[in-house]
């Protein structure tokens, strides 16, 4: 608990007018104790939400960065525990199985006291407090921790940021606009991972036109050299395509064409990273399924690139998805795909062969 206290002597000293103020160590240690309690005593989750969570949220903007990050990390622990134990029946099962007193079971059976319900009532305060801290001038570590907290929130409570789509996307845009350096690469990846989750767990009506504000920044991200950033950016577009489908060319969604061109570019090159290639393959499938009219008007050589891929597993999945979606692709596409998948079946090991057979079945049954 008290690890690194000696090292902390000089930490953040310059940020305070009072260099002698070491109370932050107490706050940080107290937060660690709370994290330990939350992480080991799930039966107290409801009480934690009633008594501790508001205090933690009030400390989201602690002046000392290490305390702030510790508070956020503690809240991540709380969210993780809520995800595991916070849903009514599971929570009761745990308590019964661990031999706790019947009284506790009765307590959690009251719906309004369920941790998930209590969390829902605190999302507004949590989001407002956290958004205040997500300023581009903050350190990369702090920003990354903040977005990690949002990721955990959406994992536990999907769609809970619907009322904050505009400020959340604005904050994401500002941070993604920061130059990619060794220090900020992980931050960019985390923000993009958050956006994947955001677009896949919220209804399109909740972010509406706000998504167009962030797409130019994401288009820059897909062209990044850093493989994880480019791969995550493709995944964001996949999630956005799935959320907004069907997308038509006349809706001013010109980003679809740019994503298509970049994915084609990545698939056509031999030096593309495997993770980027896999994400580009998926986005090609999503583009054909969700924005058929856009991509069919600008034929590229993506299918040739996919079929020439050294690892056909991803390409098999894309062809299967497009074929299963009954997208009108034309006889040549179908014929070439069947001929290619027959070769894959011949050459694949046992694992890939089953998927290739499924692909063949879908192509036959179109």
């Amino acid at each position: 608990m008290g690890d690194g206290d000696d090292d902390d002597e000089g930490e953040g000293g310059d940020e305070y007018s009072d260099d002698e103020d070491t109370s932050y160590k107490t706050r940080r240690s107290a937060t660690k104790v709370l994290a330990a309690v939350i992480g080991t005593r799930p039966e107290f989750l409801s009480k934690v939400y009633q008594n501790v969570s508001p205090v933690l949220i009030s400390r989201f903007g602690d002046r000392e960065e290490s305390v702030k990050i510790e508070v956020w990390a503690t809240y991540v622990v709380l969210l993780n525990q809520t995800g595991v134990y916070g849903r009514g029946p599971e929570s009761r099962d745990l308590e019964v199985s661990t031999g706790s007193k019947r009284k506790r079971v009765d307590e959690t059976m009251e719906v309004e006291d369920a941790p998930m319900v209590l969390l829902r009532t605190q999302v507004a305060a949590l989001s407002k407090a956290l958004l205040k801290q997500l300023q581009p001038k903050s350190s990369a570590a702090s920003l990354q921790a903040g977005f990690q907290l949002f990721i955990e929130l959406l994992n536990v409570l999907p769609g809970s940021l619907a009322n904050y789509a505009s400020p959340v996307l604005a904050a994401s845009k500002e941070i993604l606009a920061l130059p990619v350096t060794t220090n900020t690469a992980a931050l960019h990846t985390t923000v993009l991972s958050f956006l994947v989750l955001f677009f896949s767990t919220h209804p399109p009506a909740s972010f509406g036109t706000n998504s167009s504000a962030v797409t130019p920044t994401m288009l820059t991200a897909v062209t990044q050299k850093h493989p994880r950033i480019a791969a995550e950016a493709f995944k964001v577009f996949s999630a956005l395509l799935q959320a907004l489908k069907p997308i038509h060319a006349d809706k001013g969604r010109d980003w679809t064409l740019q994503v298509y061109k970049e994915a084609n570019n990545r698939l056509g090159r031999n030096d593309t990273d495997a993770e980027v290639r896999a994400a580009a393959e998926v986005v090609i499938g999503d583009l054909w399924i969700c924005a058929t009219s856009v991509v069919s008007a600008h034929p590229g050589n993506e299918w040739d690139s996919l079929r020439k891929s050294g690892r056909p597993e991803g390409a098999v999945q894309v062809v299967t998805r497009v074929a299963a979606a009954k997208i009108p692709m034309g006889t040549p596409w179908s014929t070439q795909s069947i001929e290619w998948v027959l070769v894959v079946i011949r050459k694949s090991g046992r694992g890939g062969r089953v998927e290739a057979f499924r692909c063949l079945d879908v192509l036959i049954s179109r």
Partner: protein, 165 residues
């Protein structure tokens, strides 16, 4: 490629391609890899379902004899057995006349001396064929009745006859 002008609809795989597929699938109709066998049989069923005119003669001439052996194999269980049942079902659905030939074919395979055939699998295949082609039900039941003469009195006297009514 212009998808709008060359829309792919069901039944748009060329005859040559169907032949190529069946030619390749033949080699997987062995019990060395049951998973692949199951998938190959399922794909053959799909071909018989969507392209019966092209695939049926090829299956009858090039595949059917191998499937008789497979139906008798005790190694064919679970999903592979489901696939072979589906295969025989779609086969006799594609051409009703073949049902009269498939049943003797299956029986011949099981009657071969020294075979470790699985009567249970063959019975299920026969049941599947009869359930798809009910026209041959009466003849098939009459044919198989002679094998169970021992317990026939019990059969007629019991409520088991209700099953057929």
């Amino acid at each position: 490629m212009d998808p709008s002008s060359d829309s792919l609809s069901s039944g748009d795989v060329s005859s040559d391609l169907v032949r190529s597929i069946i030619q390749q699938l033949k080699q997987y109709l062995v019990t060395t890899d049951i998973t692949v066998l199951s998938e190959a049989l399922f794909t053959l069923s799909e071909l018989l379902k969507y392209y019966p005119k092209v695939s049926y003669p090829l299956v009858e001439n090039q595949v059917l004899s191998a499937t008789y052996q497979l139906a008798c194999s005790p190694l064919v269980t679970g999903p592979a057995l489901e696939s072979i049942l589906q295969f025989f079902g779609t086969l006799v659905e594609a051409d009703g006349q073949i049902a009269n030939h498939v049943i003797p074919g299956l029986m011949k395979s099981i009657d071969e001396p020294g075979s470790d055939a699985s009567p249970s699998n063959v019975s299920k295949c026969l049941a599947k064929i009869v359930s798809v082609q009910m026209g041959i039900a009466a003849g098939t039941i009459a044919e198989f009745t002679k094998y169970i003469k021992v317990g026939l009195d019990c059969f007629w006297n019991s409520k088991m006859t209700d099953v057929l009514s």
